[in-house]
Symmetry: D2
Subunit: 314 residues, 4 copies
């Protein structure tokens, strides 16, 4: 699958999942958004990530999301799918679904809910690879959700075995990202990609040698992320940092929701969906249950920030 792997670089937004009023997946809006991102020049589409509310979707809904986006993409950009579940036997069911639906890659976390260990995490990824030996698997480092950090030596080991094709790093520690890239380079592992999941430090990650970015905020402002990628690939770091800083201003929408009456997911995803609603892309900002909706005052602040950002429509 070298061909697929080489494609997964650049800006790969984790698609939000829009909902109808009855909490079914709004496939029309999902298609429009996929098209809008492709038009903006993104390099891949990542469905069923944390930003896609994967944890709230049933197995059938997950299949619907994949099918919708794969069909819309028509092979123009690779589509990779999150296969997020507690342990290998359950993840493998999602892998089978996703592979059958024609994805170009899979994103899987370490086991969660259970108390685990690096040795077990390595074996976990081997089991996943056995279930889909032809499809690249990207390890998803997301300690805020799974409460463990993927060990760099373990990752490099799995890369050498051909078990994983890369890492999506949402660990929030750019020093870790650099150390991972450095270990990859030293190990001489080819075609092993490192993507940062941080919206606010893309320039740092690229400066350290990262291959791409998976920015939730890229749902709102894909054009800026594509521009940021291009500046960084061109080595225009100072200019890139300036643009990154502007993007960070837009990112402040995630802090508008009142943390005393809602959780971080409601704050973050609520703001992204509110922004897309405000921009006319989404028909509503509805989140899956039991997310808490932003109130009018909060929405007004978010609209103000979005307006100030002058988001360019693709």
């Amino acid at each position: 699958m070298t061909a697929s792997t080489q494609l997964l670089r650049g800006v790969v937004p984790p698609l939000l999942t829009p909902f109808n009023e009855d909490y079914s997946v709004d496939t029309d809006t999902l298609k429009r958004q996929a098209e809008r991102l492709i038009k903006a020049g993104v390099h891949g589409l990542f469905v069923l990530g944390s930003s896609g509310e994967v944890a709230f979707l049933t197995r059938e809904q997950r299949k619907e999301v994949i099918a919708t986006v794969v069909e819309q993409a028509q092979g123009r950009v690779p589509v990779i799918a999150g296969v997020i579940d507690m342990t290998a036997p359950r993840v493998i069911e999602h892998i089978e679904d996703a592979v059958a639906l024609g994805v170009q890659g899979l994103v899987a976390t370490a086991p969660f809910y259970v108390r685990t260990h690096d040795v077990e995490i390595a074996e976990h990824f081997r089991l996943l690879h056995e279930a889909a030996p032809e499809t690249p698997i990207y390890a998803y480092n997301i300690p805020v959700s799974v409460h463990s950090v993927l060990d760099i030596a373990t990752l490099i080991s799995l890369a050498k075995e051909g078990v994983i094709a890369g890492v999506k790093d949402s660990g929030g520690n750019d020093g870790y990202t650099r150390a991972l890239i450095s270990a990859r380079n030293k190990a001489g592992v080819k075609d092993f990609v490192v993507l940062t999941g941080s919206e606010t430090t893309v320039d740092f990650a690229y400066l350290a040698g990262a291959d791409g970015v998976v920015p939730g905020l890229g749902n709102v402002d894909p054009v800026s992320y594509v521009k940021l990628h291009e500046l960084l690939v061109d080595g225009a770091y100072a200019e890139a940092a300036e643009l990154q800083s502007k993007i960070c201003d837009l990112f402040t929408i995630v802090g508008v929701g009142d943390g005393t009456r809602m959780g971080g997911s409601s704050q973050g995803l609520g703001s992204f969906k509110a922004a897309l609603h405000h921009l006319g892309v989404f028909p509503s900002g509805l989140m899956s249950r039991p997310h808490v909706a932003l109130n009018d005052e909060e929405l007004a602040k978010i609209h103000e920030i979005v307006d100030a950002a002058q988001v360019i429509e693709p």
Copy 2:
């Protein structure tokens, strides 16, 4: 469902799930173990808890476990089932399965993987209750797995609304257990049960007014837990504490596995299964993948501790 609720008191072991060599559920052994526990005098059976490796079981396997134990129990004791998944839409699928299979109660955690909030957790349990208004739901406080602690005021509020019928508290903080019981008593909520999940402080929990215990180690030595319950109900605290202390010696098997090469789940469940294998109840100590097996030296130590405990077969 007052009838069901009133029954859920006393010793309610969380059944281990035995596996065949191909990792399918070993239903014969599961039946034998259910029978063995009933014979020992336990007051209920809890399937698909953390001790039952619920996180490693597919939806179909979970159904198989419930069906097997419900059939074996034949109504002699209530069977309650864990419906463990990341969020309400997914938990509700498990609820539908479990209710269709005839369980007498459900055990659900707060949302996990996602960043959440007390307001959202309350709404989460309301959604679950709507999905099964006739079946008691027990809130499962298990911060080691879900990384949040259930808020006592929220729980009492849900109890008053009739949303939850009790709490299974595996929080490891007996002061919390007491505070929860005290809040329940002050609120005058009837038929709201508090069960401790701690194998080693049952006497503390009962002294504070707990209604029962869900001991993983009860799989190995159900007779001692039933005896402990009886002593405590009779107010024979000093004698109970002595028995509890003896049980704690047996519990040290969970610390035998080497933590530098396996996780806590492998250590704990591995030791329980090894003990049952040694006692001739389980045909093997096999755990789901990617658990790490105990080695011969570790098994020998566990056998020694089990032998010293002189476990009485029901």
Copy 3:
């Protein structure tokens, strides 16, 4: 020092430190409170614990507190002193001060601020013991402050070496307390005392074999804690649990302060001092800076709870 060690059992309140308006130590009130506690029948006095705001006192102020209480106690009960500082070289200075002032015991934590290890913690206590070989040292398990838990095997090892004379366990985990007591009993270590620091689960600790309690709330209601101790020593567990439950109602004062505008220390110590002011024991509820004072509404609630508790004055 067997004599001293044997005396450290029962109720040993950690004395609050009253302040004058200029934040100097109010030694008159400190003496009155020491006298009040002795009159209530407590079995020892612990100065310079967390409840004594030790972290806010300069070296000179600490000496003043010790001198005041040692003089007031006149040997009627043992006085033990906290020697709380980051590492051994600094703790040893406090040890020298305390020993010179005639204390009957010392309470020391693991190193904090620094990243440490069990091997280093053991060596830390050995260094402290070398500095005061004639004075019993009690290891203070207080993870909320030092962010590590004292390892039971290490503690037993230090006990056997004669380095420590006991443990004051404020870890908030009664299962740990039981495991520590059990390990002590199995090791056959004589004169090694285990005191719980939990105000709300004294009955649990005694049921497991604890030797005493160091209750911050004992500053407010020493008579109840002495009565609780007596009931427990007599094996009247059910009656004790009832009294413990009543004490827990009084303990709810620590949750009255608004956590969105003050820290846990302001909430907890503020409520204890407010209660003592309300009872006429302290001339004010002043805490060291930068603690946040409770407001009138909060004080009113605390007064109400204190009045309802009908605290018996010694």
Copy 4:
């Protein structure tokens, strides 16, 4: 103190504290090392940071360290001193010492050991500033030691009040560093410096607009850090990243010590001191007690890494 403040930019190594065999401060070596760093072109000297084993030094030893380095610096570069202690009343004693000895700035953390709150942390820094209104105070963000993160809004507020002159950020989160700098810029606070404490992501911090770096590893290889600073000031980011990557290779010495028999402080400081010993700068690698010494095998690995780095002597 604008003059002083403006000077605190660039490379400001946190000086290690060398010890004689009797654990007294080795002032001769300390002077030599200060001189060596000045010769390398560093822009300031920071004594009594975590790298300086401040937590292990008595008040008298701290004064000795300050006096030694201030005298050696002779005003050629500013000397700033850590005033690390649990709470304001104790920190203020260290402030008085440091100011009397002529330092050009002070570095203070949030309160630790105690449970605190942003409101209290702000008041804490105000109390410190009152104690030394003429000396710039830098807030030290070091959650690994104090277990709280300095809130950005609070810091900006304190900057506007003139209470703090900058931040030394050892939080390990470069996104936070960027957000802090961005907030500073938006607030229009003049002369408020942000220094990163991360040895391995200096390029990231500068790209985001940081004013300097406080690198523990700068004790070993000051020349490279000065060169890195110059490249970054010149906007040569790609070249800087390459040098940074080389420095990261040297930084791997901190991971050589075996974490199963020593803590992180022993690993990290032990490796720095071992490197300086190997380079002939320090007469030994002795750390304060109870640090665990690296063994011969570990030392050999460290020497190998240091040799490979070809550290240039100033």
